[in-house]
């Protein structure tokens, strides 16, 4: 069987979302599915937590929808269920870890712990990860840095998603990156973005709605700018912010793939390509705040910056100004209290997977 594949965006056209389901129950089910697929208990729970957390944050494209992709990769053998990170270079403040095609989330969490531990000794730490896999949302791992007294910076590379600026063939990954910073009171300021102008799903949605797409999203197969979603689907997505997003994305590949000794460019495969090993790499940099100033002074300064941003008068039709990461924190608090409403297709797939693997579903 095949689970959700890219381009197969049935959930966008589904008749509606499911009634709210408690996040704990989803984590339990996903954990059982992953254990049945060969992951050790703790690793299975970590991946399940990551996926459900993305749904809690309101980013369903990175949530349980992806569980089937991972299971398919474990079945085909391109992803190793028992992740065994090997430290191939240990240079004090820096280290390089070979993931040996293990689970991306497990390796990224390992890198977060290693980088923050090294930052605690040296003021800054960097951990390069090679031969990893897709790790879901980068913010899950940068958010591990503030409780360890650090700012966390994480980059990854991914399969080709867009044309280089001036080109007309997909050759540059969306290469997400994230930065997380403590504000105090357990709040964090968090950046977590990919470098494409738009998620491909939004172009399919525009097509289904018969709507135009804005300038700057896509080009035709010939490389002409287009507002026609049908032409865009046959063509290529553009980088965010034109040439700037192109340059950013290539740099994230340099840090994540070239420097780490992992795959880079078109050598990186997507998580939905069940038969290809990923080749994805990551770079985790942690800055220990106490190496620069007292943590309390730092968080007071962050709170001041946040207060200044939030005091800016709203644009017409907009709500209050939010700091980066605030919308996810609010959405997660609401979803934790009220339960997560999944796209119907995602819940169906989850139940099918549970049945196939003979574990208790949700």
């Amino acid at each position: 069987m095949t689970h959700n594949a890219p381009g197969d965006l049935g959930h966008l056209a589904s008749t509606g979302d499911t009634p709210p389901i408690a996040a704990d129950r989803l984590v339990e089910t996903a954990t059982r599915i992953l254990v049945a697929s060969g992951l050790p208990d703790a690793d299975a729970r970590l991946v399940a937590d990551c996926l459900v957390q993305a749904d809690l944050w309101g980013h369903q494209s990175h949530g349980l929808l992806r569980l089937g992709w991972y299971v398919n990769r474990l079945r085909s053998g391109v992803m190793t269920p028992r992740t065994a990170p090997e430290t191939v270079i240990d240079g004090g403040a820096v280290a390089t870890i070979d993931g040996h095609d293990g689970v991306g989330q497990v390796l990224a969490a390992h890198a977060a712990r290693e980088a923050t531990a090294r930052a605690a000794r040296h003021g800054i730490g960097a951990v390069a990860v090679r031969n990893s896999n897709h790790f879901g949302m980068a913010a899950h791992f940068t958010r591990m840095a503030p409780p360890a007294g650090c700012i966390g910076i994480l980059t990854t590379n991914s399969s080709p998603a867009m044309a280089p600026w001036g080109g007309r063939v997909k050759a540059v990954g969306s290469n997400p990156w994230s930065i997380a910073v403590p504000i105090g009171d357990e709040r964090q300021m968090v950046l977590d973005i990919s470098n494409t102008a738009v998620a491909r799903g939004k172009i399919y949605l525009a097509r289904n709605q018969g709507a135009e797409i804005p300038d700057g999203w896509a080009i035709t197969a010939e490389g002409r700018p287009t507002r026609d979603p049908v032409e865009a689907i046959a063509g290529t997505i553009l980088p965010m912010a034109a040439h700037k997003g192109y340059a950013i994305s290539v740099m994230m590949d340099v840090l994540s793939g070239v420097l780490t000794g992992s795959g880079f460019g078109t050598a990186v495969a997507g998580p939905y390509q069940a038969e290809r090993r990923s080749g994805s790499g990551h770079l985790y940099i942690a800055l220990e705040i106490a190496a620069f100033m007292r943590v309390k002074e730092f968080t007071a300064r962050m709170a001041e910056l946040v207060a200044e941003l939030k005091a800016v008068p709203s644009a017409e039709g907009a709500g209050e100004v939010l700091y980066p990461g605030e919308v996810e924190e609010r959405t997660a608090a609401r979803n934790l209290a009220e339960g997560v409403s999944l796209p119907g297709r995602t819940l169906d797939d989850l139940r099918t997977l549970a049945a196939e693997l003979d574990v208790v579903g949700v």
Copy 2:
């Protein structure tokens, strides 16, 4: 007298550029002007080199056009001509330097040397700079890292230039950042961007040409999206890539201002504000390539990535695909050989400054 101020973009409407002038002659003149303004010889030459290099790269908005701004700041006393960086925290792999309102270029070059030296000992080095000044183009300083065997990453903060996403008042700086990476054969891949959707000058240009501006550049004073350059001038510039650029820019302020102990948010003044101290801060991170793999292997991998990008077929109407930084390298090579053609107004200002300070002009 007042030199070019923002909003005063006479050079955009000038009847034409000057005949080509040898870069060396421009550097000599600018150096003499800065020495006459109180800078030590070596510092004056560094700043002059930086300014002329921006003109060589084709970024005239960051070139000699800005010399008058710096002279005005030295005259008013908000920028100190004799830069004396003080290392206030020395933490091995990391350091914090107080610039005491010295010259931004001198402090950024100092940070580049310090960060790469620390990276040579620890694999990674980070230098925070507080109480600095505008430093011109960040790429000038990240490009110092590859000859030292490093990848250079530099962030800075700057005066408010755009609204936060969802707001309608200027409160977030353009906060430029740069990454430079060796490709081999003395070539470098270089990212150097600010986070605004557009330089303000391009909106003035559209107004002068009676042209519409594209979606995503600016909002009106009420915070409505607009394509009318007149409304945009009365309103506010938007971040590049909408909410993503907002988040990136705030993060660059966190790294450059909050973490370094410098000014942040609206506390940072622009280089054209002759009566206000800058408060600008920077963060320089250097990654030693040899701590991750042999440098030759790294540059071979970079050359492979570049070849892959350049092999992508061109979009309709575009030339060959360029790697980040390639256009600047080509422009500089041409301008070095043929001479730099300056906006007429910039050359007039340079000659006026030389006359005022009683030094030999160009």
